[in-house]
């Protein structure tokens, strides 16, 4: 029995928060870009990157941090999230 049209997408609160966070970050990045456009530069990453590049690299590596965390440890995923957040800041600032 399908009560509402979104039922097939099987939304849950955690995934809704996850996507809302991603969407907010994308909107924030867009606003940031409009307010002060990015300048391509070279940090500790082996290639020169724009702000958006570093954002993408940060998100993708964060995903792999979580995957690795689940694969190799039994510890809470919140620790992985904290590590990913710190890593994200490092990449955005110094990458």
């Amino acid at each position: 029995m399908i009560e509402n049209p979104l039922e097939w997408m099987a939304w849950t609160v955690p995934t809704a928060i996850f996507f809302a966070t991603i969407a907010t970050m994308l909107v924030a990045m867009t606003v940031w870009e409009v307010v002060s456009p990015t300048i391509q530069r070279r940090g500790f990453l082996p290639i020169s990157t724009t702000r958006g590049d570093r954002f993408f690299i940060g998100l993708l590596t964060s995903a792999f941090i979580h995957v690795g965390w689940i694969a190799f440890t039994d510890l809470s995923l919140w620790i992985a999230l904290a590590i990913a957040a710190v890593w994200m800041v490092i990449v955005m600032r110094y990458g």
């Binding site: 997408m9 849950t12 955690p14 995934t15 996507f19 995957v67």
Partner: protein
């Protein structure tokens, strides 16, 4: 830098955005939603957190499929790249032979993948297939449906036959792009064939070789149709690569949750490789290092 303030053209992209949203973004979000739940049917679902990811990432069968995938991809790269370069070096550079060779080489690339599988399925049979029959006549007990090694060799040879031409065409175009002046300079210096290859041709091929390696890496990492038609992943699980493992879990057993979790992990790897590919290509084309 002067920026154009007229951004109305963005509305022309809107149909594509809507189309992609319906065909890719929404399904992908749905897969993420599925991956954290145990779903029995509409309205009957339970949140299970990271259980499927934990289960998938620690599944020994997945580890085996992953290792098999790495072995397969490594093998075909180790064969196709040197072979492609070698063939490209021997191709004629002028006359009618050029078109003839290029057309012949392009033929395997034009075939639908399931047809490639079917061709080799028949080709490798010992009763009616030319290759299988010849091997049997040579006294080799060839049986690609029963012997894992034979199945592997058949799949690898099939992929080499199917995709080496791509490497050849890329390398050939790379070789043709080297100005004659380099060869003349080499001749003046008395460089041998090996020195010409090592210090002129190979460095000039770096760009196209990066593209070739990444293309073949990604394509072979996603290989599904040909082994599916040829061996069905067998005998046993010996030629079950990642995408077939996924298809078996999702379609065969209706384990939507675990299949979704696996899809996401797979997607992350493909995303990583695609990004590497994209970065490499844009950096080669813009000449930055």
């Amino acid at each position: 830098m002067n920026k154009t303030e007229n951004n109305k053209a963005w509305f022309l992209v809107l149909p594509v955005v809507i189309l992609v949203a319906f065909s890719a973004v929404i399904p992908l979000m749905t897969v993420v939603n599925y991956s954290v739940q145990d779903i029995f049917g509409p309205g009957q679902r339970f949140f299970v957190g990271d259980e499927w990811f934990r289960e998938t990432l620690r599944d020994p069968r997945l580890h085996e499929a992953f290792l098999r995938q790495l072995l397969f991809t490594g093998t075909i790269l180790a064969i196709q790249i040197p072979l492609g370069i070698a063939i490209a070096l021997t191709l004629p550079t002028k006359g009618w032979g050029v078109s003839a060779c290029l057309v012949l080489l392009a033929l395997p690339l034009l075939m639908p993948w399931n047809v490639v599988g079917t061709i080799w399925l028949i080709f490798a049979r010992t009763d009616i297939g030319l290759a299988g029959w010849s091997l049997a006549q040579l006294g080799i007990d060839f049986n690609f449906t029963g012997d894992p090694l034979h199945a592997w060799i058949t799949v690898v040879v099939m992929d080499v036959w199917h995709w080496t031409p791509l490497v050849v065409l890329l390398c050939y175009s790379g070789l043709r792009a080297i100005p004659d002046a380099f060869y003349q300079a080499a001749q003046v210096d008395g460089a041998g064939a090996w020195a010409v290859f090592r210090y002129i041709q190979l460095p000039k091929l770096t760009g196209v070789l990066t593209i070739a390696v990444l293309l073949r890496f990604m394509d072979s990492f996603m290989i599904y149709t040909e082994p599916f038609v040829l061996t069905g992943g067998g005998p046993g699980n010996s030629t079950t690569f990642l995408s077939q493992f996924l298809a078996t879990a999702a379609v065969g057993r209706f384990d939507i949750g675990p299949a979704a979790a696996f899809s996401i992990i797979y997607f992350l790897f493909i995303l990583l490789f695609s990004w590497l590919f994209y970065t490499a290509i844009t950096r080669i084309s813009t000449g930055t290092r």
